[in-house]
């Protein structure tokens, strides 16, 4: 009797133990069980960094694990993008992939393309603007294009490094207008802010960075934006017409940012991250932050993001070849 009771008790204990083990096992193995690293391929303080950090902070609440932001800068984005692509595809290292992923390989800097990543979602899109000094004689985008066509080589432009996204915005615009893409020589700068400083100082005449990047100087009354290179106007800048309205040129160019991981991530992790990111994107905190800073909002998850990257890559390649920036 006694023995049997002990035995049955032991059996029950064992059963209970087994049950808890079964119940606990998926819980323990469920993604994510440790902190996640989010690689930002651009420097702290920039737009990519700001949005990346915001997402990391909100993702932590959704996933219940810390999301650590790591800035891997340099090499025109090659260093950080390589770090994301070369990380172990376990879902614990993801990163912000930017428009440059479709440009670097055309410029011969790397072999990487958008196909080397597991796309999670596209979250931001900022169209290029056409900025000139506030006291400039140019009133519309058409004036600018006409002046460049009439005096090739006279007017200089800046806003980023040689062959950067804003350089392409200018070169593509001139190409569309039937002018030589190099008719307004590009003066390389270390980003939009030094380029705008050159504009204010009179060193260059045109800066084709995003309107958001110029907003501080626009409100300080030192710079004016004549057009945004997109199909629609910007909500935050209702006075700025689209390039098509302002000059008749059907040309658009934008920088974008999305979250992606290395190729071959487990489906479970991708699905979970995608769902969590969607909640983050829709949260009022994120929406307010993005609108407050003037960042454009767009949402394209998974396969849509992959298609987006492919299209972006192809169109950037076409422009880069047309303007002689591809190698």
């Amino acid at each position: 009797m006694l023995n049997r009771r002990i035995l049955s008790k032991a059996a029950m204990l064992a059963m209970a133990g087994f049950m808890t083990a079964i119940a606990a096992m998926p819980a323990a193995a469920e993604y994510p069980e440790r902190p996640i690293t989010l690689i930002v391929p651009w420097g702290a303080g920039g737009g990519t960094d700001a949005t990346g950090r915001m997402i990391a902070g909100l993702l932590k609440d959704e996933l219940g694990q810390p999301v650590n932001v790591v800035n891997r800068t340099g090499g025109s984005g090659v260093v950080g993008h390589s770090a994301i692509a070369n990380a172990a595809p376990d879902g614990y290292t993801i990163g912000v992939v930017t428009v440059e992923i479709g440009m670097m390989h055309w410029a011969g800097l790397t072999e990487l393309t958008g196909k080397d990543y597991t796309p999670i979602a596209l979250y931001n899109y900022d169209a290029a603007g056409l900025q000139v000094r506030a006291d400039s004689e140019w009133k519309t985008a058409k004036d600018v294009v006409d002046a460049i066509k009439a005096n090739p080589g006279k007017f200089k432009a800046s806003g980023t490094g040689q062959g950067g996204i804003w350089h392409l915005a200018l070169a593509g615009m001139l190409n569309t207008a039937g002018a030589d893409p190099a008719a307004a020589p590009w003066v390389p700068s270390k980003g939009a802010a030094p380029g705008l400083q050159e504009l204010v100082a009179g060193g260059v005449d045109i800066v084709t960075c995003s309107v958001v990047e110029a907003s501080a100087l626009i409100s300080a009354g030192k710079v004016k934006s004549l057009a945004v290179m997109d199909d629609v106007q910007l909500g935050a800048f209702p006075d700025v017409p689209t390039l098509k309205e302002a000059s008749g040129l059907d040309w658009k160019m934008a920088a974008w940012r999305g979250i992606a991981g290395p190729k071959g991530m487990p489906d479970e992790a991708t699905a979970k991250l995608s769902a969590a990111l969607e909640k983050v994107w829709k949260s009022s905190e994120f929406q307010e932050f993005m609108k407050g800073r003037g960042f454009g909002l767009v949402w394209k998850p998974g396969a849509e993001f992959a298609t987006w990257m492919e299209e972006s890559d192809a169109s950037l390649g076409t422009v880069m070849k047309a303007v002689g920036l591809a190698k």
């Binding site: 790591v70 340099g74 260093v79 390589s82 020589p185 390389p188 270390k190």
Partner: protein, 502 residues
């Protein structure tokens, strides 16, 4: 006004104040230990600033440096070993006072003049930087090119030791700056296919290596002598101080203002400010024969000068991104990290952050008075800290700092390699400061040169086409030609003399 209030709330935050207090104590400790410099203290702070907002991060550096430069006077006066190079100029003088039994007076003078010098420097910084920024917004790549050239030239001319060795050191720095993708053509240079090198040599790990690792190496290679601390009682610090200060009030003003101006010059920091002001003090003194015998006059001049130069060095650092001394060379890296990219734009985009830095300077220098007093009292305990415990700790912090800047082990590699290079350079009499300036300014010189050439359609005359650029250009070229002309003149004289004798 609204900006100043916003800045005040940023600094008055209890967290920021707490960070500043801890940083000030850290600065006193590091400064008081011979061989550990204020620059090294800044380098060691970097891993901690990662976790802070911009204002506490910058305030921490400000507080550390202000106290470290004063603390360097303590071992200088008690042991005749300057705690930081900034105290070297008047170390003998202060020690002579100690031998006369006036240790507390020497330290009292050092403390009060440091505070006054620091406050003067802060005033110079907060008045001149915004005014200069307003002016600097008109600067284009032509002006920046000349400014960077001027900075590099000053580094060579002012650097201690031979000009040739300073020039070689500068070239080493410029070479390091060329590694990575070049800004104009977007082409990788000296990367050997290494992706990490495409990003260039990140200058915070480089500087941690050059300042801290080289010091650790020097310790390992040295004879490890134990420092004997004199068992002399330190009496009342402030007694009889008023009379001395009122007697030499003109010296305080002179030392502080010259110090601040020397600080603004790129490449010249607290140590050079102290040397120059000590020399001026002796030359202009009514009783120069007393110098070196424990006379307070030179102490007053140089003691205020080195602290004044600290704030002065921030002027070109914030306005142009050109470091005024080796400390601000590191600060520029931290500013970039915190999104406060130096340049006139930051005065437009986030003026409250800049004003918060100014307020931090005033606060740190005011806090120096009580904290410095405590440090004088505790000096003997601080000086007894054994090196064999200290050096491994420093090595650890260096590793953490170099890793954390980019979260890559590559940073540690950069730090170690440059640490060995800096050690070898210093052992052979090559100053490290020009190399640092080369690393920081190399990209600036090149990018602005290329941008200017594109703008001017390849015409060299473009560099003289704008009035400010032309002025800066003429000054720079004169600076280059002066040593050559002087050498030629001497050669000419030497050639003439033998002929005259025959």
């Amino acid at each position: 006004m609204e900006t100043v209030l916003k800045a005040l709330t940023l600094v008055a935050d209890p967290y920021t104040l707490g960070v500043m207090l801890l940083a000030a104590m850290f600065g006193l400790f590091v400064g008081a230990i011979p061989g550990l410099t204020a620059t090294m203290a800044t380098a060691l702070l970097i891993p901690f600033t990662f976790f802070m907002d911009p204002v506490p991060a910058i305030a921490a550096i400000v507080a550390t440096v202000a106290t470290a430069i004063f603390a360097g006077d303590i071992p200088g006066a008690l042991l005749r070993i300057p705690g930081t190079p900034a105290s070297a100029a008047y170390c003998d003088e202060a020690y002579a006072m100690t031998k006369k039994g006036l240790a507390e007076r020497a330290l009292g003078i050092a403390l009060v003049t440091s505070v006054i010098g620091g406050l003067t420097g802060s005033i110079v910084l907060s008045l001149s930087a915004p005014a200069l920024a307003e002016f600097a917004i008109q600067f284009s790549s032509f002006e920046y090119f000349w400014l960077a050239c001027l900075g590099l030239s000053c580094a060579v001319i002012i650097s201690t030791g031979s000009t040739i060795k300073g020039f070689v050191s500068l070239l080493i720095g410029l070479f390091i700056a060329t590694i990575g993708i070049d800004g104009t053509a977007g082409h990788p240079r000296f990367t050997f296919g290494n992706i990490e090198l495409m990003g260039g040599v990140s200058f915070i790990p480089a500087m941690i290596g050059m300042f801290a690792i080289s010091e650790v190496l020097r310790y390992v290679a040295s004879n490890r002598t134990v420092i004997e601390v004199p068992q002399q009682a330190v009496g009342s610090v402030f007694s009889g101080l008023g009379a001395i200060l009122s007697r030499y009030k003109f010296n305080i003003v002179r030392g502080s203002s010259i110090g601040a101006v020397v600080g603004i010059l790129p490449g010249a920091g607290a140590d050079i400010a102290a040397w120059i002001c000590y020399a001026i003090s002796k030359k202009r003194s009514k009783e120069p024969e007393k110098f070196g015998t424990g006379h307070p006059e030179g102490l007053v001049d140089a003691g205020s000068a080195n602290n004044a130069s600290l704030a002065g060095a921030w002027v070109p650092a914030i306005v142009f991104g050109i470091p005024g001394d080796s400390i601000t060379a590191i600060v520029i890296g931290v500013l970039y990290m915190k999104g406060m990219n130096p340049g006139p734009m930051v005065f437009i985009q986030s003026p409250e952050l800049i004003y918060a830095v100014f307020i931090a300077f005033f606060l740190a220098n005011l806090a120096l008075l009580p904290l410095g007093f405590a440090a004088i009292r505790l000096s003997r305990q601080i000086l007894r800290m054994p090196r064999r415990i200290l050096m491994p700790l420093i090595l650890m912090f260096c590793m953490v700092g170099a890793f954390a800047i980019n979260n890559t082990v590559f940073g540690i590699t950069v730090m170690l390699v440059l640490g060995v290079i800096a050690y070898l350079m210093e052992e052979n009499g090559f100053p490290v400061a020009p190399a640092i300036l080369g690393i920081v300014l190399g990209g600036m010189v090149e990018d602005n040169f290329m941008a200017s050439m594109i703008k001017a359609d390849g015409s060299m005359l473009g560099f003289f086409s704008r009035p400010i650029a032309a002025t800066l250009g003429v000054i720079t070229i004169m600076l280059w030609l002066t040593p050559i002309l002087v050498a030629a003149w001497k050669q000419y004289r030497r050639m003439r003399r033998p002929t005259a004798e025959t």
